[in-house]
């Protein structure tokens, strides 16, 4: 090699790379989630000093108490910016109409927000009851398994959350959820679901649906804490979970649910 030729020794290479580093960083930063997180709503961030390992949240729903007023679904939409149109619910109320023979008739017009119209069918009615539904915050969540980018996860305080800045909107979690708890948010184009009002519970407040429930159908608290209302609910209620045979280990406990409830 003659001395006049331009050389590319290791040192030169590293040097030139180092000098180009700011340019690379500029391009990479365009795709970094910090950028995206800065734009996203940080309302779900827990307050400073909050220790998720010290909590284990759970909810109880007493079916005997529910009157089907739908205030929980309405409050949830207001609290969590859920689109007002039907089909988008983080929580909703179902009505079960059981005839003496055959399958129950189940409906949920506008999630129960506008109340339920009188049953005008031709079947004899044995009994009816309401079942409020929401994300079951499964310990063994089918939605978490299928998310390709790891945007949905079980937090250390036992709540299943979606990071909307990571979600690509493939809707796999929506299909995988056996409780139908998820939907695609039309504005963010990402999956959305009940968070137990994570922004409220981390500040020591109750979820919006529990707060507004006039009959105390919904009970919220810390599983395993004797002082928590959920302890009493589980101690004295006839407690079950939905679709126990799927082994999803839900954290929403139902009292008084019979085999008709799906």
């Amino acid at each position: 090699m003659s001395p006049k030729q331009p050389s590319m020794e290791r040192r030169d290479f590293l040097d030139s790379m180092a000098r180009r580093l700011p340019v690379w960083m500029f391009f990479l930063s365009a795709f970094s989630p910090e950028n995206l997180l800065a734009q996203s709503d940080s309302a779900t961030e827990p307050p400073p000093g909050y220790d998720p390992t010290k909590h284990n949240y759970a909810m109880g729903v007493d079916i005997h108490k529910c009157i089907g007023c739908g205030r929980c679904a309405d409050a949830c939409k207001n609290e969590n910016h859920v689109p007002r149109e039907p089909f988008f619910y983080r929580t909703w109320v179902e009505r079960y109409i059981c005839p003496p023979e055959g399958d129950a008739i189940v409906d949920s017009p506008n999630g129960g927000i506008d109340g339920f119209p009188e049953y005008k069918g031709d079947k004899e009615v044995l009994r009816t009851y309401f079942v409020p539904k929401l994300c079951n915050h499964c310990e063994n969540a089918p939605c978490v398994q299928v998310c390709p980018v790891g945007a949905t996860f079980v937090s250390r305080d036992g709540v299943v959350l979606v990071d909307e800045s990571y979600c690509v909107g493939c809707r796999y979690c929506i299909q995988a959820c056996p409780y139908g708890a998820r939907y695609l948010h039309p504005e963010t184009k990402t999956a959305d679901k009940c968070t137990f009002c994570y922004h409220r519970i981390t500040k020591g407040l109750l979820p919006a649906c529990v707060e507004v429930c006039p009959t105390q159908t919904r009970v919220f608290g810390e599983a395993g804490h004797r002082s928590s209302p959920i302890w009493r609910f589980m101690r004295f209620g006839n407690v079950t979970v939905l679709k126990a045979y799927l082994n999803t280990k839900p954290k929403v406990y139902y009292s008084g649910a019979d085999m008709e409830v799906r």
């Binding site: 990479l28 970094s32 989630p33 089909f87 988008f88 909703w92 179902e94 009505r95 129950a104 008739i105 189940v106 409906d107 949920s108 539904k133 089918p142 398994q145 299928v146 998310c147 390709p148 980018v149 790891g150 990571y166 979600c167 690509v168 909107g169 493939c170 809707r171 796999y172 929506i174 299909q175 995988a176 056996p178 409780y179 139908g180 939907y183 695609l184 039309p186 184009k189 990402t190 679709k243 799927l246 999803t248 799906r262």
Partner: protein, 463 residues
Amino acid sequence: MAAAEAKELQQLPLVLGDKKYDNVTRDIIAPVETFPKKLWWIAFSVALTVFGVHMTAIAVVVGTGLGLLGINNPVGWGTFIINFVFWIGIGHAGTLISAVLYVFRQQWRTAINRSAEAMTIFAVACAGIFPNIHVGRLWFIFWAMPYPNERGVLWPNFRSPLVWDVFAISTYLTISLVFWYAGLVPDFASIRDRIKESDAVQKIRKSVYSVLSLGWVGSTRAWAHYEAMAMILAGLSFPLVLSVHSIVSFDFATSVIPGWHTTIFPPYFVIGAIFSGFGMVLTLLIIMREVFHFQDYITIKHLENMAKVTMLTGSLVGLAYSTEFFMAWYSGSPFEGFAFINRMFGPYWWAYWIMVSCNVITPQLFWFKSIRTNPTLLWIISIFVNIGMWFERYVIVVTSLHRDYLPSSWDMYIMTNWDFAILIGSFGMFFTLFLLFVRVFPAIAIAEIKMVMKSPGAKGFGH
């Protein structure tokens, strides 16, 4: 009886018409060396227009959002997933013909493997579009790829079948492309050597084919390497025939939806894929052999063999359908039972019965030799197979979702014009690519045909 038939199969020549090597080269390269006729231009402009509609519709849907489509809350997966599975399935016949039949030394594959492999690649290209445009935020789809990044905890979730899909399909496309291109190299060299540099166009053609043929001279040494490489690539492709559609089936089988959550899904999908792929190969090859006069190369025997594979796989698909019903009953799960009764007699009964009649009943006609050796009837039945296999995916995706666990959220899935535009448009893309292929590439593997034909002058030398 079986021995007599085996003898008959042995003795039927794979190339008809007493060809010499020179005739073979001339016949097969003819479409590449002549200017396309009117028929091709008409077909190509129609395909290109539909392809244009495809791209426009995709741009609008991605720009506006998925609300344009027919998907709703219980049915969150719609035509995009159906089309994805359909196109991936089409590809499988190409790999089966090129790799599995190669490893098993089925020499009749030589006449059809080139176009079947091309079909695979174009079908996978069509399929590859769908999972991307199906997501709500296409611009972040690359987050499903594992690569060193500065995003901290964000890393693909390797438990998700969609991530397995990313690997399965990119591997499949890569191996198929390499195998296809490697096989093309000697044939590109044949085209290159025949070009006379008479004018500027011919000079450009010569340089293009020179680059494509990678300086192939056909030395014995090169052929030895070529043979070894072909066997290695065939060995690599072989498991892909089984794995790719198994992984696609995991997209469904790993979720707990009734009708999806079954262990039969991987073999059921693989067989269905091979079935649909052979349907599409028949559709394409029967037209190609008529238009380009390839009857001496793609003989009735080739068509008959493909018809037999179609009949076998169609019957296996039928077996899978009935096994699903058996398992729904035998498992005792009321949800499974309901899902399958609902498929047959629910609001989408018509889709189910289109599927059964096209996939299970129609291929049974191939028991008759007169039908499986009649190209026109074969072509018609192959169209039914294509329709039936699209509806199979429609039935799987839509009927399981539209009546899920929660009766209060039940809804119907109705395809919108955008769904239709993108579905039909994907056929435009496929046929645009295939029409270009038959004009630019040798549509039959020249070198391989020469290996299996009777040596000119060597009387009695078999294949």
